[in-house]
Each structure stands twice: as C-alpha cells, then as structure tokens.
Symmetry: C2
Subunit: 531 residues, 2 copies
C-alpha cells in the first residue's frame, strides 16, 4: 500500500534473507540471455488433479481471499467466502460521492465528491513487475492507465529551506546531478581517480559526466542553455520574434545539501515506483469488483467471523450476519484459507498451534492516513503545470498527489492532500476527528499551493488504524519478528493456512496478497492431493 | 517532431541567442515566488479592436495555419484557408487501417493495421510545458493520456556491447549512478574534495551519495538487496514460503563506459521529454481534426498553391484544385499568413523582398523515417514486461517505441519499429522502397526482440523527405543561418507574414508552430489596427 514507509526495515530484513539464500549465480545465467524474469509469478497457477469434492472456506474477500477462492473454485473445490464488509475488496477500495463509512470511535464520513472523481484510500498504484496482479487484471478485463510517480514539474518542499518556497523536482534533480558530476569530473582531471579508474576509462568517464551532468566544455555546471535543457529555462524558447530563450540559474550544491531535498530523488527510481506504473481506469476497486463479479454468490458479505475451530477432519467457522447479529451461525468445510488481517485475527479464538499463534501476535499493524480533497478547479494544472505525480514535503501531510486522470480538463478535481505513514505523525492525525484532519491538510497544503484556501470544497480522511476491518494499513514486520515467525505464519496448520500481504515479502502491496494466496493454495492443494 | 536530432545544433544556437539576450535576473524574482511561468505562452491571445472587414488568406492547414485562421476569424477577420492535402492537419497526422498515401517517387502504401491501432508518423508527444498546444487541446476538447518516454524496464542496446544483449534501462541507470556515487564518496572520504566542498557539506554529501547511489555503509555500490531496489532483483520478493528475494549483480562501470549506453540516460531528463508528457487519446490527429471541425468550410482542401503575389493593397494567391488541375484559380485578400513549409515555398514564385527570399532559401529540411509494425500479440508486454516507453539501439532503426495505450490487453499491437533522423541513415532508408524499409526494421528489431520474426504481420514506413507536402520533417536551421536569417524570415513583408515550426525556436515541435502563428498574427493585427 505504501512501500516507502517500509523500505528501511524491509531492506534490512531482506538483506538478512538474502544472505541466507546465498548467491545470485542463477541471475547471471538469466541476464546473459537478456531476458531475466525476476518475478516469482511464472504464469497462471495450475492445480492439477481432482480434489473430489473437497470443500474450502475462505475468510476475507480482499485480493488474497478472492484469489484463493477463484483458483480453488476453478480447480474443482467447493468454495465459500465469508466477508466482514458489505462489499468485497477489503483494502482494495475506492471512495466516490455518496459513499459512506464509519470508523472506530463512531465518526461517520460521507464522501461529497462530484461524480467521476474519487480517492483510493488503500492501494493506488501497480508496478509493471507485479505480474500476478497484472495477469488477473488482464484475465478479468480491468483497464489500466499510467500512474505518474515522478513528475519533473511537481515540487519538493522543506519548510526550513529556500525560505519555504517549493522547488521543482527537475531543478533539484538536475542541479544535484550536475554538481555531483562537476565534482567528480574535476577530481578526475586532477588525477585523483588514478588509483580507481584506468586512464582509458577516465577519458570516457569525462565524456559521460559532461553528458549526464549537463556540464560545459570546462566541466562546469552553470547557467546555460545546456543546463536549462534539464532544469528548465527562465524563459523557454518560443515562436516568431518572441522566440529568444533565457537560461536559468542553478541552485548551489550547498543549498541543496542543507535542504535535504535530495532525500526524495531516489524514491522515483525505486523498483517499486519506476515507470511504467499503473492504476485501474476509474478507481482501484475496479480490480476487487472484477474478482467479485467472477465469484458471484460464492462471497457472503456482512459475515463477521467470531471463531475458527478445527479438528482432524474439518474446519468450523462461527460467524454472525452483521445485520442480524443475535443469530450465531456456523460453516464447516474440509479446509480453510484465512486472509483475515492479523490485527483482527489475533483477537479471535482460533484453533492453531502455538507457533502460528505466536506469529500472529508478533506483527503489529502500521498506521497510515490518506486525505482526499476536492477543489473547484484543477489549479495545480492550470497555474502550476503539474499534471499527475507527487509533490513531497516535510510538513505533516508529507505528500500531495495529483490525479492521474482527466488531465487538462476544466472543472473540479480531487487530489490526495495528505499521505502519511510515519508513526507519531500518523497517530496524531488518526487521533483527530475527520473534519480536523481535512482542515489540517488544507492548511498545510496551502504552503505549497496558495489557491488551496479559496478553491477548497470538501474532503474525506481515512485513518487506517481506525478502519474496523483492518485496524491498520498493513502488517508491519520487524526484522526480528520476520526471522522468528514468518515461516511459521505461512505453514499450513492442520487444515488452516493463512494468506494476505502479511504473509508475503511484499508487505502493503496487492501483489504480496495475491502471491501469498497462490503460494498457500499450491501447498494446500498438494496436501489435498496426498490425502 | 523529433527534438533529439536537433539538440546539439539548437543548443549551440540558443547559447548564442542567450548570450545576446543577457541575464536571467528576472528568473530569480520569479522563482523566489516559486511559481515561475517559463512558457512564452501567457494565455489565449487577445486581438482587441475591430479589423473592419479586413480579409486574410491563410496558406497551409497545419497547426500554424489553423491557429492563425481560428484566432483571426474569432477576431472578426474574413478568413479563407487553402490546404494542399485532402485533409487538414499537415504533419499532425495519424495512420490507421485503410489509410493510403503516395510518396514522392510514386510508391503508394495502404495501412493494414487492425481497427483501433495506429501510427503517428509525425509528432507523437506533447510536453507538459507546451502550454499553447495544451490550451488548444483544452478549448477544443482533445482528451489526453500520458506518453511514456522513460520506461525503466525498456532496453538500451549496442550491437558491440554486452555481446549484443540488450540491457534494461534501470540497470544501466542504477549502476552508472551508483558507481559514480561510489567514486565521489571515496574521493570525499580521502579528503580530495577539501578544496571544493566545506567539511560540513562533505558530511551531508556522503549521506546524499549513499541514498542517491544506493551505496552500502562503506560507500560501496555492489550486489545487495539495497542496490536491487533500484536495478531490480535476480529474483524479486514474493509471497508465502516462496518469498525470498535474491539480489542482482551490478554491471562494472568500465563495461558501461565502454558500451556508451550512458549516452541515452540524460535524454529522459531532457526538458522536452520529462514527465508528464502527453499524447491525444486515439491518435495525434485528434488535435488537427478538432481544429478543422472548428474552422468548418473556412478550409478548402486539395488546393495546390502555385504562386503568391502582393501589391500595396492586397495579396493574390494562384492555386489549382488537385482534382481539376487544369483550371487555374485565384484568391485575393488584404493579408496573407503563409505556413507552407520552406522546402515547398522555396520552389514557388513569391512576391517578397530579398531578405525574406534569402531566409527561405537558407533552411534545408531534415529527413526522418518512422516505421509502424503490427504484430500478432503484444510480446513486449507479455514476455518482456515493457509497457510503453522507448528502447534505444545503435542499430539503424535507433528506437523501438511501444504503444502508450491499450496496456496489458490481449491481441494485436502496433509499435514504432524505427525512428531515425540522423542524416546518412535517414537518407539510406528514404532511398529504399517502402517494403524494404519495413523488412529492415523487422530484421534489426529482432536483435532486440526475437519474437519479431514469428509475430510480425504488416508495416508502414513514412520517409519524410519523400512526403509531397513537406519534403522533409522540419526546418533544419544551422546556427549560422539562424543568426543571419531568422529575424528576416519572421518579419512581415508587405502584406505577407510566414508562420510554422520553421519560424520558431522550437523546430519540429507543434508548440513552435502554434507560438509562431500567435506571434505572427499579433504583429499582423497590430499593423492592421494602425492602417
């Protein structure tokens, strides 16, 4: 859902796993062919063999649960899926005008967006290498359009730098790269790289740095029409007799360094956020809806699970219909795939062994807050020439993300006015009443876009720690917990197997949920075939 | 149309102009507000005052001519527009199944693409800062979608490097940046930057390089799960018990340097190609068609201009209807805006002074070849996970550009199988019969995408030097010619003023054509108001 928040801890975690897993020799073989397939998804799952009427209860109609239900049904299982919400999808969720939801604490918000405008409060983007999710989008006819992560004309903003004036990403990017190139080119010319780089390579390195850094013939990065070709012009080339371009002046390296705006630059190059990213046309929930349509009445909504029991022959799930909560019901099947978030599952009576229990207890859930704001006009396009993409700030709102659809149109627009997932900040926003969250987002955002104040119309704020069906945005594994508990969490315990983004190495991503489900049902099916 | 070809000469040219134009002081004032408007376009043109029935003949229904006709008509002028082709649009042109055209030399090609697939043989992308064109798209309701210039998963290919195996852009980009960062970080640590960077800034620079270059704690760029977060994995993180990621091994800096693949990296950051770029939904000619619809019967198609005369009261244009070429016709008006390409205009009898004549003669037209190829399936997406964007190669085809629409769908696809504009190479392809151009594109492309050979269905090849209405792709100004002749070309000569991309500092771009027209008619209107 929000990979950025997890990069550091995931990186540390993965370093560990990587060290255990050993070498990358296979990769050499693959890349020498030039067509390495890095994804663990190797095409549609094959569950060969006849399950002979075996039945499976799937719990939770998020992408993990619906993937499991769809593939098990297709393989010949009898499948029923119990879902807490009145809709399928789980965190695959889109808010549109008229939608209403109640958060923990009782506050109810009704979305007032104009028809056609929306907010994806959960996942909002799909990397090109999330091959499993893309495969389901293809099979289920979910139309995709680009999600713009890096917009060179969006802003980087630090309240304490450049007098609080936001800087265009292209400016920070070009000037940092140019001045780093100048420093290295000069060090090369002064012979200071002689021990590290051959003379022959130094010659080419200088050419490369001149090109890559937009340096002049003396390897200086400075105001010129060449550097302006990357950072932008004071006045851009035009037509007729008013055509003369004027170069722009670079920002000093020292100012960029002290501003710390360089922190954001590599985000855009991250494997998870590289071009080409996607979003479903019309809202992320087009994916969940497509799954749900395929599953039909296999999904029973409004079913609140209260207990999960198993013995050596079957699994029995106790639940209530949320519209008739006094009537306790049960469902029994041979097997169970449980995709209920661990934050919820840890509160239920559940017949599993101590290792799985301990694993379920070991994973806290991350908070995250997303705030959608509707404005009278798309001033970010009209005034700032920002079409899609994300501005970053060190203000508590952290991000302003512009809609990647309806570009260049007149009329109203909805942007993501805050997306925050850092602990204390997320807690603080989660503690506010929704209207105050929205008001803060407008107040902070106005520091970057002054028209906020006059153009704002309405907003909606989802604080994931208060969302009843997840109590958080995603499983927040620590490196230690992952080492001690991850494998236990994923093991089949008797007749029950867990699935979901929490049972993957891609926490908070829909791909993790789907890959987790595919891995779980592969092993489950193998066991069924053996018995 | 193809800014890349012109970067070097334009840069030199612009340096000269920039030097003459002087300082960028204004920019400082503007950026200190954080909202610099770099575009010479300052909003819809205002032609105040009553032209009192003055008439204007506009020649050429490309974007320059249609912009002039539209705005002059709106300002109260009597306008007629003569167009050589059977359609309006000029180089704003899209080829679809059933379209047919005949090139110089007599070869006729008929496009065989499946319905819904297309090729833009001329302009194909719109930068976010081309504000004039975007404004017309908005006013004329032309829907836009992103054009992907940089796709991290597309290829860079050099026949003589890496055994001819194409490299993912993300790999070259991450490894070059990482190893440059390592070199500079080590030089910093060794005190070799002490004369250039303060101690305080060196501390921050090291942090920045570690982040930006994906360096480890010792400032090394090497195989790790951290560097894999940018260059990609040997095996990416997955779900359940098959989740373990495997890091990938960087390519040595020396190999990247010698491959010269670094040449392409900065292309993606160029102001003209930065995110967010656009293309009209359905084909670039949606723009031309929207203009033409607005102009209605003001446009007379199939009108081949054979002579342009003026005296001190009027302009008379001689032309023939191409369907009845024996009948010579004339049209007379008070003024003339001529957007006929200089390559054609230089061959017509034209009543202008020697300075304008010399300017018209001074501009050769660049060649360019674009080849569209239809394949049975979108193997670049299905096999290579390349969704949109461009692969670059030093083979004669130079580029393979993938469609930025219909992502992730089954069925056929059309890609741009060659886009070349370098002199000798363009001449060589232009000299071939169209079928041979297509065959070569398939042959060369197969070196990058082996499925080319089995999946190819049909193709179409536009060699701009052979296109009868332009005899080239765009005005190819030398630095010297620009200095001597540009201002003369743009001056109103008697009752005639020229417009088009050739009369702009944005050669080959639609924005240049429009800005040129707006500048020309502003001056023309001023003159009319004075007389």
């Amino acid at each position: 859902m929000h990979g950025e928040a997890l990069v550091t801890s995931r990186r540390d975690l993965l370093s560990l796993i990587g060290a255990m897993a050993g070498s990358a020799a296979m990769y050499h073989a693959m890349t020498s062919l030039g067509f390495a397939s890095e994804s663990p998804f190797k095409g549609p799952i094959r569950l060969d063999g006849d399950p002979k009427g075996a039945s499976v209860l799937v719990l939770g109609a998020g992408l993990a649960g619906m993937t499991a239900a769809l593939e098990l049904r297709n393989a010949g299982y009898q499948v029923q899926l119990l879902e807490f919400n009145a809709r399928a999808g789980g965190r695959n969720w889109t808010l549109r005008g008229g939608d209403s939801f109640t958060e923990l604490g009782g506050a109810t918000q009704t979305c007032e967006f104009e028809p056609g405008l929306y907010l994806n409060p959960g996942p909002w983007r799909i990397p090109y290498h999330h091959r499993a999710l893309l495969d389901y989008c293809k099979r289920l006819n979910v139309a995709l359009e680009p999600f713009i992560q890096l917009n060179h004309n969006a802003y980087l903003h630090a309240a304490g730098a450049f007098g609080g004036v936001p800087q265009r990403i292209r400016v920070v990017k070009a000037d940092f790269q140019g001045q780093v190139s100048e420093l290295l080119a000069k060090a090369t010319q002064q012979g200071r790289l002689n021990d590290a780089v051959t003379r022959e390579d130094q010659e080419i390195l200088l050419q490369a740095l001149r090109s890559w850094g937009a340096l002049d013939r003396s390897y200086n990065y400075k105001a010129s029409l060449f550097s302006s070709e990357y950072r932008g012009y004071a006045s851009a080339p035009g037509g007729g007799l008013s055509a003369v371009p004027v170069p722009s002046d670079p920002v000093a390296l020292s100012d960029i360094l002290k501003s710390r705006l360089w922190r954001y630059l590599q985000n855009f190059a991250n494997y998870n956020f590289q071009t080409t990213m996607f979003q479903p046309v019309g809202g992320m929930d087009m994916v969940g809806k497509a799954f749900a349509k395929e599953l039909g009445d296999i999904i029973r909504t409004n079913a609140k699970v209260t207990r999960i029991q198993q013995n050596d022959r079957s699994v029995t799930v106790t639940f209530v219909d949320r519209q008739r909560p006094a009537i306790v019901q049960t469902a029994t099947a041979d097997w169970c795939v449980c995709s209920i978030p661990l934050s919820i599952l840890s509160q239920l009576p559940l017949d599993v062994g101590p290792a799985v229990k301990a694993a379920i207890e070991a994973v806290p859930y991350a908070g995250a807050v997303k705030i959608g704001l509707q404005f009278k006009r798309r001033f970010w396009e009209e005034d700032d020439a920002i079409f899609g993409g994300i501005s970053y700030t060190d203000l508590p709102i952290r991000q302003i993300a512009y809609p990647n659809t309806g570009y260049n149109r007149s009329g109203r627009g909805v942007l993501l006015g805050a997306y925050l997932f850092d602990g204390a900040n997320a807690y603080e926003f989660s503690a506010m009443p929704p209207a105050e969250r929205v008001a803060r987002a407008v107040e902070f955002g106005a520091a970057i876009h002054p028209p906020y104040k006059s153009e704002f119309e309405n907003g909606i704020a989802v604080a994931w720690h208060r969302v009843p069906f997840t109590l958080g945005c995603s499983g927040d594994w620590s490196e230690e917990a992952r080492k001690d508990h991850y494998a236990n969490l994923c093991q089949i315990d008797g007749r029950i197997v867990l699935a979901g983004e929490h049972a993957s190495a891609l926490p908070a991503w829909q791909e993790g949920a789907i890959l987790s489900a595919l891995d779980a049902i592969s092993r489950l099916h193998e066991r069924v075939m053996k018995t």
